[in-house]
Symmetry: C2
Subunit: 229 residues, 2 copies
Amino acid sequence: MSQPGLRERKKQRTRLALIDAALELFAAQGYEATTVDQIAAAVDVSPRTFFRYFATKEDVALSLPVDGQEVMLRELAGRPAGEPPFTALSHAMRAVVTELQRGDLTETARFLKARELIENTPALFAGSVRRMMENEQRLIAEIARREGSSPDDLLPHFVVSLFTTVARVGFESCHPRSIEDLPAFGERLEQILSLAERSLRPGWDRGPVDGDADAPRVHGDADAPRPGD
Amino acid sequence: MSQPGLRERKKQRTRLALIDAALELFAAQGYEATTVDQIAAAVDVSPRTFFRYFATKEDVALSLPVDGQEVMLRELAGRPAGEPPFTALSHAMRAVVTELQRGDLTETARFLKARELIENTPALFAGSVRRMMENEQRLIAEIARREGSSPDDLLPHFVVSLFTTVARVGFESCHPRSIEDLPAFGERLEQILSLAERSLRPGWDRGPVDGDADAPRVHGDADAPRPGD
DNA sequence: TGTCATCTGTCAGCTCCTGACATAAATTAC
DNA sequence: GTAATTTATGTCAGGAGCTGACAGATGACA
């Protein structure tokens, strides 16, 4: 595992070069005003090649945060089994931030640059939300697995969506001030997480409390067997 | 105010014709497989004219739900001042559903058709969420106004985002089952609203409880002066 | 009826994105 | 080290979404 081969290294280099060129151009003249041809030209690559690295122009700006989501999912999978869902999600999110802090400086700078660009560009923000939502499905599946509940169950959906929302509000609340550094962002995350925890009833993410059997069923209601099956 | 004039009526007719033609084509052959030219041809109108009615191809599918958001905002503005934020939002949402039920049948059918299409088309669903989030800003402003808090305040953001999330999970939970009728949708909404209320601490949407002054400040912290300014 | 505002069609063109094919480069086999 | 094979890249053609500009048609209004 010494080296991943010259070919692979070259690919990684062009990929990063494309991202850097794109971020720079986007920042300088705006996202929509920048064409794919310009980005490709800046890296001295054909426009067709750009689309072999990124499916859409949007993707080049969102690729870094998307990588973050992968880390998030991995971290979540590594959380201890007994941990309540919301707690596990919170810890996974924190792990992503600390993971980023460990990376080298140009790497975190790139990430912050991308993040700010996304936050200030409606089209990119929309795309970011879309990715978040796609990722949400995977988080839901993981939480459902941990809790041993059906993927049709409302509760995992609710928990994950609520968590995602909290994280998003954390991001948004930094805007229009830019996120100057990771530690500041970490603090912000703790604040909003704490607000969420103070707003929610203890044990809410584990379903209805016992002895509440007469309450209208919501937990597991999505495809619950109806009387008569 | 007898009639809005022949010109205006004609415009409304073309607009609805475009929507109907689009929904039909989308349902028949899929959203991406349908071109704007086809839609325009179905209404016997030039493609250029299509774009004078709808800024994007997406818009023709989302226009109806967007109208619903306008109603939602109006209803929210009409809620009594003393009502807690989350309650006011819930009532406004309910009002939208009942408003829809009062409309004529072809109207609600159109809405349901659009809703189902959106739910089953990732690209449209993402667009729908994006509109929802754009609208969120206006809801936040309204809630902040009602509560007399700064628009930078975290709490209104949190409350509105959480509400939007709850509503969205309600929508999503209907899929892949289609929403056959409005009453069923109303019931679903009540279920998820009830789940949310049972998960949250009483008074959460009005800020931290008194006597908790030592807790880390979050409420109103968004642009708090830092030590050293 | 005639003037004016507005809506519509036509056309030309840009940008995003894709399939197909040929070329160049790296990897592997010999 | 050379040949064979895989894989990345460039070139080309083209479809689809979307826009500006101009000319003609059609309601509005006096």
